[in-house]
Every structure is written in C-alpha cells, then in structure tokens.
Symmetry: C2
Subunit: 203 residues, 2 copies
C-alpha cells in the first residue's frame, strides 16, 4: 500500500523515532516511552522500530547516544568560545555548558543517566560517553600543569565532573527548587560553579 503523503518506506524512520522518543520523554516521562507509542507517533506499525533498533533498549541507547554526542559537542563549543581566558574560566564555562545541556535537553539527559542501560552492550553509546568526558579531563590536566601543586589529575577531574553532574542531576530532579524554595536555581548554579577552584591551591 502506497501512502499518499509518503511511501511504504518512511524515508527516515530512525530519525523520526528518535524525535518521537524525545517528545514522549518530555511530555510523559522516561517511564512512559514505549516502542509502540513511538511507532504511533511516527505513523508506522507497532513493530517497525524493531527493524532499526532491535528492541526497546536499543532505541533508548540510540537516543542516549545522540544525547552524549550533543553534550560532547556543547562542551567543546563552550571551551572554544572561552579560549584565551584563564584555564579556570574555561573550566567554569564547560561546567556551565554541562548544566545548561542537562536543563535544555532533559529528555536526553534522563536517557543518558537514568535509563539503566549497560554501556558494555552498546559500544557506540560508550564511545560518545567517553568523548564527552575526555574534554573535561584534558582541560583539568591543562589547569594542573600550570600550577605548582602535584594534585592528581584523575581525582581533580572526578571532583569537577561530580560537581557539574551532581548539580545537573539535582536540578533536573527538581531537588534544587525543592530544597531552596526561595531561590532561583540559576543563582545557586552560578554560585556553585564559582566555588570549585575558589581561593585555593588551584586559583
């Protein structure tokens, strides 16, 4: 049967399904994502998605991978735009970009960190996730090279990553607004991102 508006072949079903997943996560939460609902939104039969993504986890993994790619790109862009400033300011800009990504792409962020996917099952997902982190770690290493402190780069990278990831998670989770009811989350985030290397051995 030839669809008048399109064709028997959708044309770009994988991309359409990823868009459908994003809409569902935003509107109804990660728990309500289903292969069949995504298929309905894309206007195809209930089992069409399986031919592109294998199973439900495969679809979610592709969606999460897209998120890691976007995050890695955002972090890179932020670092490039802050080039020329101090290493601390570059790191702060990266951190702000991380939190901004989480808030502006909550659907992807949830799939990336709340879906319970096993990265070892999805090599491409693992690769993009590593890429996002690699940039942060390199910048931390550059910061430490300039200082006289023999701090452990792995530890400082994990420290900085924990801050921006924790902050993002708590914000997306609603915890920031919940615990600081009279505060705007933006002010909290700005303040926190100024603290990590504040007045200490890294300043």
């Amino acid at each position: 049967m030839t669809n008048p508006t399109g064709a028997y072949h959708h044309g770009n079903l994988p991309e359409a399904l990823l868009v459908a997943v994003d809409e569902i996560v935003i509107a109804q939460g990660l728990e309500n994502v289903s292969l069949r609902a995504a298929a309905r939104r894309a206007g195809v039969s209930h089992s069409a998605p399986a031919h592109h993504f294998g199973d439900k986890d495969g679809l979610l993994a592709a969606y999460a991978e897209q998120g890691f790619t976007m995050l890695a790109d955002s972090l890179e862009t932020a670092a490039i735009e802050a080039a020329g400033q101090s290493m601390i300011d570059i790191l702060k800009a990266s951190g702000a970009a991380y939190v901004r990504f989480a808030v502006e792409h909550q659907g992807h962020f949830q799939a990336m960190f709340r879906s319970g996917l096993d990265k070892s099952t999805y090599p491409e997902l693992a690769a993009q996730s590593r890429r996002a982190f690699r940039g942060l770690k390199q910048r931390v290493e550059m910061l430490l090279q300039g200082g006289d402190d023999a701090a452990d780069a792995d530890v400082v990278a994990a420290y900085f990553w924990s801050i921006v990831h924790g902050l993002s998670s708590l914000w997306v989770d609603g915890a920031l607004e919940y615990m600081f009811t009279e505060e705007r989350p933006e002010r909290i985030v700005d303040g926190v991102l100024s603290l990590p290397f504040h007045g200490g051995a890294f300043s």
Copy 2:
C-alpha cells in the same frame, strides 16, 4: 483457605513487599520491578500489593522513602561519630557516609533518584528527603559561622551536596570505573572528598 505456615493474612505484607522490591532491584534492575513479581516473591496474589500501596508508583515511593530514612539516619550517625573533630572533618565524614550509603544500598539509591517519582504526590517521601538534606545544610552553616568569609550558605550547601551526590551517582552508574579504568573507585572518592575545602577560604 488457611495457609499452614502462616495465615490468610500474611502478617506483615507491606514489609515483605519492600524486601521483595529490594531483591528484585538488586538482582534484575529497577526496570524489572513489577507489582506481580513482588507479589510472587511474597507469596500472595497478583493484586494484593495494591491494597497496601495503591499502585506501582506507590510501592516504589514507599521503597524510596525507606531509603531516604536510612540515608538521613546514616548521615546523622556519621556526624555524631565525628563529633569533636573539626567542622571540615565532620562534613567529610558526612560525605563519605553519603557515598557509602549509595554503594551499599544501590537498590534504594536508584529508587530514590532514578525512579522519576513526583515528590509532591508523596508527602512522606518528600519529608524524608528533606530530612536527609537538612542535616548536611546545618553542618555547612556551622562551618561558615566559624569563618570570616561571608559565603552564601545555600550555595555552599548545594556545592557540597552536588559533590557527594554526583560522586555517588557516577559510581553507582559505573561511570567512575568506566572512565578511570586503572583506578580503584575508593581512591578516587577519598581524593575527591578531600578537595572541597582544600586550601581555600573554608580551610
């Protein structure tokens, strides 16, 4: 029908169901928790759980609430045991207790932060979650009172909370082991928890 080992009435079905949920989360992941599987483990019919917890979210909320209660207790105990030491050491002990809770009770931790439950729907869940955070914030305020720095308590509390929460999330998620393959997570965690107030305005 009278059950020889027990009774028609289970005796303590709510508690048995919470134990069942914990076992399922640990063994099969949060995604595979189901009312029916929990009921089977507790040896009751598929719709018995609804009479105690309403629906699936109600069961998960009760399990998560149990987790927040345990976390709040753990943080309190850690602070009491560290009493007499410097405020920074007390905070560090609290942070270590937070991470330890996440790792030792991964099931609860996942339900607390990965289940997507709306706290405004479950007042008791919200209350225990606030209680866990309140202790941390009080200790941060005590730390700042002693210093000459007019730092914003809300910001520093969010800062410290982000670190321990981000660290816990990344560890439970497997990200620490994934990014620092040659490192023991424990060493990373110890190192990170030494940094927050290291050599800076709060030392």
